[in-house]
Symmetry: C2
Subunit: 338 residues, 2 copies
Amino acid sequence: MRPRIALPRFDYAYVLTLCLLLLTGGCATVQTDPLPAWNGGKAKQTVVGFVAKVTTQGSPDYVPVPERIATFDNDGTLWAEQPMYSQLLFALDRVKTLAPKHPEWKNQEPFASLLKGDVKGALAGGEKAIVEIVMATHTGMTEEEFEVIVRDWIATAKHPRFGQLYTSMVYQPMLELLAYLRANGFKTFIVSGGSIEFMRPWTEKVYGIPPEQVVGSSIKTKFELRDGKPVLMRLPELSFIDDGAGKPIGINGHIGRRPIFAFGNSDGDLQMLQWTAAGGGARFMGVVHHTDAVREWAYDRQSSVGKLDKALDEAEAKGWTVVDMKRDWNLIFPFEAK
Amino acid sequence: MRPRIALPRFDYAYVLTLCLLLLTGGCATVQTDPLPAWNGGKAKQTVVGFVAKVTTQGSPDYVPVPERIATFDNDGTLWAEQPMYSQLLFALDRVKTLAPKHPEWKNQEPFASLLKGDVKGALAGGEKAIVEIVMATHTGMTEEEFEVIVRDWIATAKHPRFGQLYTSMVYQPMLELLAYLRANGFKTFIVSGGSIEFMRPWTEKVYGIPPEQVVGSSIKTKFELRDGKPVLMRLPELSFIDDGAGKPIGINGHIGRRPIFAFGNSDGDLQMLQWTAAGGGARFMGVVHHTDAVREWAYDRQSSVGKLDKALDEAEAKGWTVVDMKRDWNLIFPFEAK
């Protein structure tokens, strides 16, 4: 702080004015575009219009700050999910790392195919194969040990197409949207089908979303004393699948309030969007439509990852906001700007 | 605000100083006791000393704001739990209300005893009887319907001994402590064995703790479309018991960070306190010891409600802070002050 006693009188008035502006929030009247990576079409207008009406005191749509709950799917909504969910790529890497300790995997599917490099063959076993891979790689250690494993992987593993860290494969327009909502008093949550403990180690740094605002799928854990020190052991047993109809259940269980704003990108988000839409007052429901095969990927109704079919129909029928990635976003990944 | 233009020079400096104090948080140097209902003994000193050291920049014990997680048990820690948990009294009231629709209850325990006014007989069936009563009264409706039932009860039901609303049976020193922690950048959570949906309708108003910061026991719910409108139906199936070893599991599942501050009052809080104690850096573990039979109740090792035995031994052995209600609190319930 500059020594106050040496300031001439006009400086007092100037600093005082600055102080008052800061105190009264008057600085907010200096407007800059909070969503520069969004082109100025209908999607952006709808977002900005919604935020304006729910935050304007005296507006019939005004929503008090504590009720400004916004939920976001993660895979395909906040970060890329192609060619495969990042968590599955993590699990595949873990299988390779753990293989020396599991000689039996050489003759046991889905591990045998995986270790031969035949990912497609391994995943031919469908959900059962995926659950087996996840259980073999995500359980049997303490929560703290698993967190270290996730942190190490996420800090080093690179995306097969872009050669970027997975935490760089996030959508710049969504980072802006998260920050914009928070600047307007919203509490932002992730509601993802991914494992809660796969996301929490990095969501605060990458999205500004703290661990306690991450809702996801989970396994069971067990409290134990190990040499007098309490630990939570990760058990190979599913506890909750936070996908599809599980999303409103997860929202109810973790948040206990209905969102007024929700964003997804696939049929797994349909019930979250329906749940959000069914509340009283102003609502925003958004769907990211992957339409840009050049800068990202183009996929929807036929995709095995992030299938968007029923939710696209319902979004169109109900007038929800569908973001056309190619048309609506002038920047997709932050690294493109460099 | 007084018109600035008319102010003589010294007033500018005064207002400026005030502004700067507000901006820099310097007003905190104007000290008033944040915990007036706490007598100035060791318990209060330990709380204040802990908060000072974890919030002082440059202190070796400094904890960044996002990591300042404080968890509180509810029954017996934030509000009274005698002569019986409030939620159980709520369930008993519900049995009476619902009895006309359940003629079979006249010949079916634990309902038959209850309806004859024999609460002790009804609860003689132990945990099984309690679960039956809870399931019969807490499930079979939507989440929204249950919320209305809780709101109605909590707004009207009176405590049998004090004749006060249950939301008035809260501990003034703990209300002060919650506010004090929040003023120092802590995020305050409830971690209770009680049902999450029994607490959420009123914790924000009573404790300043929003629904998303309430962790508790839960039942399963099912997402359904009813005439096209999504609802969450409450199923008669336990999902999670947030008590004892369940508390660290609940904390991990909901919060995803280890608390640095935890307060409980019974053996059901022991593992939460152990879990908190086992983290690195400065920690605060507190236990409310009910020692005041005149103003509240005196009970510990032999009590069927809020038994405090092992946790009292461990608190004493480990040097955790044990609040002696009679000695340490000069006011227990807010209504005493009137």
